[in-house]
Symmetry: none
Subunit: 402 residues, 2 copies
Amino acid sequence: MADLSRLRELVVKNEKKIVMVVMDGLGGVPVEPGGMTALELAHTPNLDALAAKGIVGLHEPIGPGITPGSGPSHLALFGYDPFAYEIGRGVLEAVGIDFPLTPNDLAARGNFATVDAEGRITDRRAGRIASEAAAELTARLQAEVRLEGVEVFVAPVREHRFVLVLRGEGLVPALSETDPQALGVPPLPVRPLVPEAARTAELVNEFVRQAARILADAHPANMVLLRGFAKYPTIPSMGEVFGLQPAAIASYPMYRGLAKLVGMTALPTGPALADEFGTLEHAWADYDFFYLHVKKTDSAGEDGDFARKVEVIEHVDSLIPRLVQLRPDVVIVTGDHSTPAPLRSHSWHPVPFLLWAETCRPDGVDSFGERTCARGALGRFPATDIMPLALAHALKLTKFGA
Amino acid sequence: MADLSRLRELVVKNEKKIVMVVMDGLGGVPVEPGGMTALELAHTPNLDALAAKGIVGLHEPIGPGITPGSGPSHLALFGYDPFAYEIGRGVLEAVGIDFPLTPNDLAARGNFATVDAEGRITDRRAGRIASEAAAELTARLQAEVRLEGVEVFVAPVREHRFVLVLRGEGLVPALSETDPQALGVPPLPVRPLVPEAARTAELVNEFVRQAARILADAHPANMVLLRGFAKYPTIPSMGEVFGLQPAAIASYPMYRGLAKLVGMTALPTGPALADEFGTLEHAWADYDFFYLHVKKTDSAGEDGDFARKVEVIEHVDSLIPRLVQLRPDVVIVTGDHSTPAPLRSHSWHPVPFLLWAETCRPDGVDSFGERTCARGALGRFPATDIMPLALAHALKLTKFGA
């Protein structure tokens, strides 16, 4: 039932509330053969209690063997087929710095780069120029570039990276990239990959010409490279599809941005995990779906810091009673993908999942970990099943057929 | 393998017999957290013995989170994709009263209603007129209405409800409904939703005009409302698709009707469960697939009567030896959906399933219940897999590819 149009016909509205806690990169593997994962080792009495009364399983964010990026894995958690709704790299980069994208926007990832007197690239990252210096240069571009018929936004990301956004009617993202991914050659001109993209290609090429002139004295950042052209995706909102009033509680901009793409209200919150739970309490009356994002499980995994991942999980567990006290109707705790500390990266391993509601048929599993979830009632299942299950347990779906 | 055309190519005929016992609404949830379901609590030594020698799992009639109606859930049990073959509400209503539908028929659900002197609806159910009175009025309509080029049938259902059937060539069910679902306004004329439905719309409007005249003196039942227009569905028969000679044993008309829609012979049977098993014994030589329907598990669930659901399950268990004595080649025992007594309604919870055959690879599960099925060899699986599995264990499917 990843067919949203069929699901939409079954949706009924009620007052029941769903909370989805996403511990980024939650899934893991043991450091040593036969050992425990971070989640298994962590002392999590509150999550274990939810698992005992609820149902557990392991979800596949994209599919067996597929390591997800954060964009598609979150889309799947939110109920959207990640193959049907792709979020381009330029858009993800813009979303990641909280740039207020609108549906008319075309975004690209930009690098400051170094070219020699003949215009040949000598450093694709401009010596990883400092963020402050890069911000001055993006401000200069923002102030001086003028393109016919479109608004231009140039916003810094970090070090040599920036985002270019063109805003206007009729922009088409089917464009080749300017970064030749090689040294000793000049940047490539942008070519339209479909005839309708010809005007957009000309606008981007004009941006590069003006940028080269404006940056001529800014060695080593005397050139720009552009790639990942993408239009703002048209994704039906969670309000339209699921009849929900959804809110996102996430301290990192990229996750707020992803949530906004599916129509969530991104609530202001503080940097600490306890701030996020405070925001949940504060906004409790105003929404019926809450996505609460925990970043630091993933960061610990990416850093290869197994012990810190255990600590973050235990910290989340210690805050669960504050959530339970709100008397939610459906509680989901899971991750968007696995980030095993031994691998120091996202991975393809399926992700521990628990759902608690009064309507659960218990499955005899009483702790929350990779191995226990593998024996749960849900087994291994696609992440796109999560929203239909959440809605069902919140009694927000009517019968299919008579 | 819900692709029936692929499956059909593999079918081979033999003498082996398959019995599918469907306990309607079998699946449940515990009354109290940590408690047992009705099936888990019931003493079922005969079903447990089958489970011990066979394979078990939990099937999803439609999909995760989706609460099925009886129509689509039975289609899935019978091997048909419930999204590809939808049974409209009018047809289901006609089937439910054992009306002998034919492929040329268009059926609608009718209500007797009350209108005032200005023709505005004052009661959409005509004061829930008694069934006997309604039967007199449907007889009057049946005797007096005349439509050009089509036969008309008006059959009572219960209280204010009746079925209208038009029989003729070229009827098209894409019609708007006449029931405005509101009081103080007149019934709506039927509009064709596609151009090809124009003639059908005119016929239905003419029916309503004649009915209003005929019922003018029949206050409070002085008007009719019509909705759920549906054509007899064209579903390839189980004979065509699976090479079976199938028979249905069901005391409730709706289930006989559903079985007839897929080409089963509906055998006459008595109202008691033992009657149904008697019919099975009696007809044993003449068919190679038997669908035996048990209604009372669902009724108990709908009534919220947990103890009665346990009793019905135990009664079914006590009759299983009569089935085993017939030496069937494949025995399936399952439900069409869950009807947990605590929820008093159909639900989305996956449904306990067991399959016994000589060819089973036992899965170490030796009792038949929701939690044991969750640990079975089949795991959680789509209901449309059931017929291919049944055919395989009856050695009625040849190899795919060389």
